[in-house]
Symmetry: C2
Subunit: 219 residues, 2 copies
């Protein structure tokens, strides 16, 4: 069955968050082809209907091509569309965002990673996509285990505290944070494992659930 409607272009774009030097960063890609050849932009590409099961599958393919592995956390962000957002024609871009622990990145990847506070003007409507992604990240950081996916699988409560502060962009009381997190039951101590140093050893923790867990909340 055929439709009589001319169809728009379909693509995906990805916003890849990581934390470097205590700062929230994005992993960008230098565009190999026109338009905007040579410019830094969000990693993305066309949907391949022969190859991709759905757009999330396309996003995974793009991320694998960029990083060489799958992101520990991937979620659909928003869909951007319109006649003018891409010079090639009326287009739909399904945007995804992913959280990548910095420990998984190699040198060349770090070289294309920039703090979100310090990004160049990006091509297409990528600035808008980035703004939306940061907004979503900050928002979910206030009521879910999301920021934990920026850490390696094993971390201390202080690591977690720091990453929540960096993603939320605010200071959080240590004692209250510990209390809140522990009662939410999203992490568990790894028995007998500590990070040592010239100070009291810090208990190591891991996520209790592989997936994102929202906090309970009342109105």
């Amino acid at each position: 069955m055929e439709t009589t409607f001319p169809q728009p272009l379909a693509m995906v774009d990805t916003t890849l968050f990581t934390i470097l030097h205590e700062r929230l960063c994005l992993i960008l890609a230098r565009r190999k082809e026109p338009p905007e050849q040579g410019e830094l932009a969000l990693p993305g590409g066309f949907v391949h209907v022969q190859e991709d099961v759905d757009t999330e599958d396309a996003a995974r393919r793009v991320i694998r091509a960029k990083l060489g592995f799958d992101a520990p956390y991937l979620e659909q962000l928003y869909t951007f569309s319109g006649k003018d957002r891409d010079t090639r024609g009326w287009s739909i871009s399904v945007a995804y965002y992913a959280l990548i622990p910095a420990s998984l990145l190699d040198h060349s990847q770090v070289a294309e990673t920039l703090p979100v506070e310090d990004l160049p003007k990006l091509p297409f409507d990528h600035d808008q996509i980035v703004a939306k992604a940061i907004e979503r990240l900050r928002s979910k950081a206030t009521y879910s285990s999301l920021p934990a996916f920026l850490l390696p699988e094993i971390f201390t409560l202080n690591d977690l505290h720091g990453i929540y502060q960096q993603t939320q962009g605010t200071r959080l009381d240590k004692a209250s944070f510990r209390h809140k997190i522990m009662e939410q039951d999203i992490i568990e101590p790894i028995p007998g494992q500590f990070r040592t140093g010239a100070h009291r050893p810090a208990q190591l923790y891991r996520l209790t659930h592989r997936a994102l867990t929202p906090f309970e909340r009342k109105i």
Copy 2:
């Protein structure tokens, strides 16, 4: 410039919420054409690249065609995609949800409105879209002024209390609710206006902001 990639079909689907007899309902449409001709489904249609500025514009067009007016609240929900979700081929559906005060509906529209608890099996992946829409509505009901858009422009605090309970699906303490809402500053009393009856008159209120307002919250 042309791309070498075969493009998927692009469409929009809309989930239209309203409250009827104190119950959360959806306004459905009977499909006029194949596939699934004659079945109740979410109102939707193809993106018209000649006509629509973007997919939100397409959703507005679909809603206007269905209801005859613009929805007071419209937001992008999620994008559904894949080879098999529509028999016509690999497709992308950008789903939107809207909140419609029941007072705006006419008889024929009410006739195609069903409680969410009592929906028939819907065609395509529309059950999945509905599930996601309800989840989003319930979620935003806990931290924003969203449910207020299901009410007419003027309402009492008890109306608001009821609509929050219906969208959240939980009981909320009246005194706490009033306190919380008033301190969030999302509604304002209309001076001198009351709804009367065989009881103490109820102060009438309106939203202070035309747009959705999230509540302040700490972790």
